[in-house]
């Protein structure tokens, strides 16, 4: 196979990755924004919508406008992280550098760190590190976005 068709395919694929990244990022950020608006307006019905998406334990949720958010800090971090990760994947310098393997590494590290945090809390090593949990969720969300988009980029490269 000559180089020319491969280049065309690569360019088309990169364009597709960018499109996914923009749509995914916009949706994730819209969701994060909607959660903040629900708090700002104290909209109980809207809060109920998320009751099946998260445990909503008030001591584990970030406080916005005097009340706890409709989802916990880790979940909020994950959705925000997906948005941030998607938008961070758009520039050419990032698309070119994040390989499928690196995507795996990010996802594994983020999964292990979040699992470790859950375990530490479970065994009582520390309790309710609200902002740390949110930051770890953010990392996990960004890692999920990087992983998925890096795999989309290499769609035609078997197993990479």
């Amino acid at each position: 196979m000559n180089k020319y068709p491969d280049t065309i395919v690569d360019l088309a694929r990169i364009r597709e990755v960018r499109r996914y990244a923009m749509i995914g990022g916009a949706l994730a950020l819209a969701l994060s924004l909607a959660l903040i608006v629900i708090n700002l307006t104290h909209w109980e019905w809207g809060r109920g919508l998320f009751s099946h998406l998260c445990h909503q334990k008030s001591d584990r949720c970030l406080i916005v406008s005097g009340t706890s958010m409709a989802i916990c800090s880790r979940c909020f971090g994950i959705y925000l992280g997906i948005g941030v990760g998607c938008f961070a994947f758009i520039p050419q310098c990032v698309i070119g550098r994040i390989s499928g393997f690196l995507g795996w590494v990010f996802l594994t590290v983020a999964g292990v760190v979040n699992g470790g945090d859950f375990l530490m809390e479970y065994i009582g090593y520390y309790s309710n590190a609200l902002y740390a949990r949110g930051a770890l969720g953010l990392f996990l969300g960004a890692a999920i976005a990087f992983f998925i988009l890096s795999r989309v980029k290499n769609f035609y490269s078997e197993g990479k």
Partner: protein
């Protein structure tokens, strides 16, 4: 680039078996309110199972949007069915699946919660107990099923299509 012979026609691969499998998983995991402990993971698992089943049944690698579509549909079916069963039991014999467990869970939480949040929790327990099945609740459930299935299913389907990438391209 792949040859034409390596491309599988999506129309020749019906999604029904994958939807049934993923739907059953989503149904089983959402029937009891485990989401209070596992967040959106039950639906992400349902979506993951549906997409994985499709990939392995036909030996294909799926484009992201089609993978997400299968996963979301499976979650809609499963979660929709479990919500319907929940409502039928509530309406028919006044039994709400997992309510006692959830009320106890919230009560325990209220005991250990800071003073400022205790009232909010106790109030939500009372509201939950007194809630009756009406049009407002049903509308909220419909939106919840769509929203939650969309988020959980999309994540599960996207992860499944990203992890299992071997096989022919399905288009």
């Amino acid at each position: 680039m792949t040859d034409d012979s390596e491309i599988v026609d999506l129309d020749a691969c019906p999604a029904k078996p994958a939807l049934i499998t993923g739907g059953i998983v989503a149904f089983a995991l959402t029937l009891f309110p485990m989401s209070y402990a596992l967040c959106c993971m039950p639906l992400a698992i349902g979506g993951f199972v549906a997409t994985s089943r499709y990939i392995f049944k036909y030996g294909v690698k799926l484009d992201l949007k089609y993978a997400m579509k299968i996963a979301i549909l499976a979650c809609l079916c499963g979660f929709g069915a479990s919500t319907l069963l929940y409502d039928l039991l509530w309406l028919g014999i006044d039994y709400r699946i997992g309510l006692d467990w959830y009320v106890n869970f919230l009560a325990d939480l209220a005991e250990s919660a800071p003073e400022s949040q205790r009232d909010q929790l106790l109030e939500s327990i009372e509201l939950l107990k007194e809630q009756s099945l009406g049009i407002g609740v049903v509308i909220q459930q419909v939106f919840t099923v769509i929203l939650t299935s969309g988020i959980g299913g999309a994540m599960g389907g996207a992860l499944a299509s990203s992890i299992f990438k071997k096989g022919k391209v399905a288009q």
